[in-house]
Point group: C2
Chain length 189, copies 2
DNA sequence: GCTCATAAAGCAAATATTTTGCGTTTGTGC
DNA sequence: GCACAAACGCAAAATATTTGCTTTATGAGC
């Protein structure tokens, strides 16, 4: 049984959704963001524009929807044997993904959505990933595993901040510093 | 000599820009984001829609432009006598501003801009503010003033992350923790 | 399996918007 | 002052969006 969305899992509805998403992905590969239009997507997907407008509201929400999908982690994070290593491995891959041209566009599209539920969903991906790595470290018996919150504030937040505002500094070297610092701090408050 | 933008500082151009910005602000106070339209703004500002389209491209860029202005710090940060105090005071005010309804909208509008120069400009405000507070602390002779980069990663980044993705946790209490941690860490890398 | 109720899609006309070409106004540099 | 070019106004044309109504297909109850 495939993973389903909340739109009447059944038949036509799901088919339309898939066709529209697919059409967006194909067009995005060829056209820049502001050449993309709803009527174009509709034609390629073989649906009427009004279908798209009624379901997604406008182009911004549609592309945001597609981009959130794109950002969902598809594979389990690699196990390097240490929390620091896992964080670095995941982070480097994430940075590479998000500094790429399509990655940057996906990020922009998600941020442009008026529905902040979408943005939240997207950041939950990173947070639950942190939780996974943390559990893994605990079950290995690693010492000094920081609380989840510290991983989020110490690693995910700076990374995200750089990706959004200043991607020149979204580098693997900086990532290493964030990790070291997050794992080094012993106590506070 | 007032601060000028890069649009032919002179007369008409500047007047039009001001009229349009003003019209956007007035309409935003009354209408929700997706009731706002370019023709409406144009009428209230007393200009033709084509003027707006040619100058800003579309509504998203226009409202982003207005919002960046709105986010420019207008007054000097208060001096509390310590770096920690200054950070807390500034941060609390910033959080309050940005969790308010108009603040959230401004944030969204800026993030929705396709021009990431705009986003960058907006984050430079915070960074240069950090630099100011840091200089102030140094000239007071405070011990253990962390490098600018650590203030950005340790305080601004988590705050921004929370504001964007999970504003429930954008609180003064968390802010305090970020500050304590940023100032406490002695070394890394 | 069959029927019914209903959510979602199609279609097309009505609106609203965005784009564009061209003439006019208005700062800016000489 | 004068000439040049940038920015604006206007209006027609091209697009995109909304909306009312019809048709189709799914899921529930029998």
């Amino acid at each position: 049984m495939p993973i389903k969305e909340a739109v009447r899992p059944g038949g036509r509805s799901a088919r339309v959704q898939e066709a529209v998403h697919q059409a967006v992905r194909e067009l995005q590969a060829v056209k820049s963001r502001d050449e993309l239009t709803v009527p174009q997507v509709a034609e390629l997907a073989g649906v009427t524009p009004s279908t798209i407008y009624r379901r997604w509201g406008n182009l911004a929400e549609l592309v945001a929807d597609v981009s959130v999908e794109r950002m969902r982690p598809d594979e389990d994070p690699v196990d390097t044997g240490t929390l620091a290593g896992d964080l670095q491995a995941w982070g480097e891959q994430y940075l590479e993904e998000m500094t790429s041209v399509p990655g940057q566009r996906a990020l922009n599209d998600v941020m442009a959505s008026a529905d902040n539920g979408r943005r939240e969903r997207c950041c939950r991906y990173s947070e639950s990933l942190m939780a996974t790595l943390r559990e893994r470290a605990l079950s290995r018996g690693e010492a000094a595993v920081p609380p989840l919150e510290r991983l989020v504030d110490g690693v995910v937040a700076p990374m995200t901040y750089r990706l959004l505002y200043d991607r020149e500094s979204a580098t693997a070297a900086n990532l290493r510093r964030w990790i070291v610092r997050a794992l080094a701090v012993e106590d506070a408050d």
